[in-house]
């Protein structure tokens, strides 16, 4: 009974500790969205992630880098090697080594290259965005609490400025962004992309799709991790069961 009481207190206090975070500042907690890569058997929805790649490429990539993902990684999303080669060829990169005359030269990107960034450096990115830095999106869903839902909420969360709140020059109002004012103008508009698979490009659809894509980009290990985890867990549970049986046997002569 007393142990139960203590357990309840402990749980209550930890809940208080975890939910309290949102109380600071006037931020809305992210919308509660179920993602199919969550849960023990979670995998990435390939079709959604492929559409998300299209959203990233046609909308976000003009401001945000994705420099930790290599073009060849796209094969994880179900693209063939030829498709990846063709995708990479659209971009130009500077070769790492100079040519025989000692000059650096540009060449078409290869599958082994990483996504080409829109700006050569942080300063250039800031200069083009009114002083605000559009972060590299390679890790964005891991770098925010409740990342995928936060990203989705941010993208669909732009609203009119509430009555009594003063407009801020060059910023947009978004209640999901800490502080409420973000230097990124609403990036998604109905039919902003024309999906190759014919899906209707609503803002909600695009936001979900790009979230799938960027979640994969941040945790490409997720599917292999969960699959390996299942075997490891099954092994450990069976093994521990055997150990319990062994222990019972060993101790059977001690009272």
């Amino acid at each position: 009974m007393r142990k139960l009481l203590i357990a309840k207190l402990v749980v209550g206090l930890s809940l208080a500790a975890s939910t309290g975070a949102y109380a600071a500042g006037d931020v809305l907690p992210p919308k509660d969205v179920k993602w199919n890569f969550e849960g023990i058997f979670g995998t990435y929805d390939r079709a959604a992630a492929q559409r998300g790649l299209q959203v990233y490429k046609e909308v976000c990539a003009s401001c945000h880098a994705l420099s930790r993902v290599a073009y060849r990684n796209l094969m994880d999303l179900g693209y063939t090697e030829d498709q990846v080669k063709a995708f990479a060829k659209e971009y130009e990169v500077q070769n790492a080594e100079p040519n025989d005359d000692g000059e650096m030269f540009m060449r078409a990107a290869l599958p082994s290259d990483r996504f080409v960034s829109p700006f050569p450096n942080k300063q250039a990115a800031r200069a083009a965005n009114g002083g605000a830095y559009p972060p590299d999106l390679s890790l964005i869903t891991k770098a925010r609490a409740n990342g995928p839902s936060y990203l989705y909420s941010l993208l669909v969360g732009y609203t009119d400025v509430p009555a009594g709140v003063e407009e801020q020059e060059g910023l947009s109002y978004n209640p999901y962004f800490p502080g409420g004012w973000i230097a990124m103008a609403m990036p998604l508009f109905e039919d902003g992309v024309e999906y190759t698979d014919g899906t209707k490009a609503t803002v909600d659809q695009m936001a979900k799709d790009v979230t799938y894509f960027l979640s994969w980009a941040a945790s490409p290990d997720l599917e292999q991790r969960k699959k390996t985890g299942l075997s490891v867990m099954m092994f450990l549970v069976v093994f521990t069961g055997l150990l319990i049986a062994v222990k019972k046997k060993v101790w059977s002569d001690v009272h």
């Binding site: 207190l9 930890s14 890790l139 891991k142 925010r144 985890g229 299942l230 222990k247």
Partner: protein
């Protein structure tokens, strides 16, 4: 130590010259263990195994990691993405640090509950406190290595604490940094020390276990072993029992690694370190939170000591006080089972540590449960006061005033309810393998 005669000539040849086989047989095979130990006695073995796993995964990480401010974060991401099973190695290591602290904290509270720090185990206990301090230093420096936002700002906040030292403060901080800010020199030395310290821990663990094997294990009744009828040999009895604990522990650890690998971490550490952008909340890893709360709860000067310095002193004192615990607790009875009053205060102390942990995670100026005049810093002050009250006032007095329950005359009596001639007891009494 009794020498064995081995039939295998090679083993006999070695053992005659260096009796490692006799030693292992004596310390880990026949070693007498109180027969009434419960599962809380698993945690020492679990901690040793965790240490080994940390060293093995750490060495593999170090093969791929680059200790340079411009490359550290990238190299960790390369481990996650491009190294075969790199994500597995890294998640085992980063969650392993948390598992290590959970195990060691349970191990310590076990000692507090059953009075394992009392004579003749004082030195054993003190060596344990040394291990705790070394672990904390190791984990702190390890957390800096991935060079994310929390790595950088955590390092900055903690190293800057030393500036509170009078006169030499600034020089000490610059000496620690190896420059005028937390920078490449700092990262390099932290990597070097993070690699070194686990091996120092191994050394102290060896001493800790050596001291244990002099006095033998304490037990849930906290009474001395009277003879062979009270014990069973370590192998197979406790190899079997520890294995169950290990199985369950690995399930928990694997649960985090495979299904919630970032749950215990902070999202900001997936943002590369930026000395120009201060995160809104700088919080240490969960295992440091109670100490962080003590540090931040001192907001007032005391006599000639200023608030910052006092906070630092109390934070270190909160661990250092464990060194003198064997002499602060005046009760002759070890186990809480027979200390009806202390038992309650023990749980109150656990609760206090937990509350301090919550306070450490909050910003000091936030109101507690929405009560405007009662902030987390106030809760932290109460928690800190109670922490020291427990050790400095309660324990010395309680030992004198409390009337303990009658102790059982022997372990075998308390286990069998009087029958001391059970099979295992008789078998081990003659030194035969059970």
């Amino acid at each position: 130590m009794e020498k064995q005669t081995y039939s295998n000539p090679v083993i006999r040849w070695v053992d005659d010259r260096l009796p490692i086989f006799s030693f292992m047989d004596h310390e880990y095979n026949k070693f007498p263990m109180p027969r009434n130990l419960n599962y809380f006695w698993n945690f020492g073995a679990l901690a040793s195994i965790t240490l080994i796993v940390m060293i093995v995964t750490g060495i593999v990480l170090a093969m791929h990691y680059t200790p340079h401010t411009s490359m550290a974060f990238d190299s960790v991401e390369r481990i996650m993405r491009d190294v075969n099973y790199g994500w597995l190695i890294r998640y085992i290591h980063s969650n392993g640090a948390s598992m290590f602290f959970i195990v060691v904290y349970i191990h310590i509270f076990r000692g507090l509950y059953y009075g394992s720090y009392k004579a003749p185990r004082e030195l054993l206990w003190m060596l344990g406190v040394v291990i705790l301090l070394l672990m904390m230093a190791t984990a702190f420096m390890g957390y800096v290595l991935p060079w994310g936002q929390m790595s950088f700002w955590g390092a900055k906040v903690i190293t800057s604490l030393f500036s509170a030292v009078p006169i030499f403060g600034e020089s000490i901080v610059e000496w620690l940094w190896g420059g005028f800010s937390v920078d490449n020199a700092t990262l390099n030395r932290f990597f070097s020390l993070h690699y070194l310290m686990p091996f120092v821990i191994v050394g102290v663990v060896v001493l800790h276990v050596a001291a244990l094997h002099v006095s033998g294990s304490n037990n849930p009744d906290g009474i001395d072993v009277k003879g062979p009828q009270d014990t069973v040999p370590f192998n197979p009895y406790f190899t079997a029992k520890d294995s169950i604990g290990l199985g369950v522990f690995l399930i928990v650890w694997a649960g985090f690694v495979f299904y919630a690998p970032d749950f215990l971490g902070h999202p900001d550490n997936y943002i590369p370190a930026d000395p120009l952008v201060t995160p809104p909340h700088i919080v240490p890893e969960w295992y440091f939170l109670p100490f962080y709360a003590i540090l931040r709860s001192i907001t007032f000067d005391f006599l000639f000591i200023d608030a910052k310095l006092l906070g630092v002193i109390l934070m270190f004192a909160s661990i250092a006080i464990l060194f003198v615990l064997p002499w602060l607790d005046t009760s002759k009875v070890r186990s809480c089972r027979f200390r009806p009053v202390y038992k309650w205060f023990f749980w109150l102390f656990v609760l206090d540590c937990f509350i301090l942990g919550v306070v450490g995670a909050k910003s000091p100026d936030d109101p507690v449960f929405g009560v405007e005049w009662f902030k987390y810093v106030h809760l932290g002050q109460i928690g800190t006061a109670y922490y020291f009250f427990h050790f400095l006032i309660l324990l010395p007095i309680l030992g004198k005033m409390e009337r303990p329950l009658p102790l059982p005359t022997s372990i075998s009596e308390s286990v069998t309810g009087g029958r001391s001639d059970s099979a295992a007891g008789a078998a081990t009494a003659k030194g035969e393998p059970a």
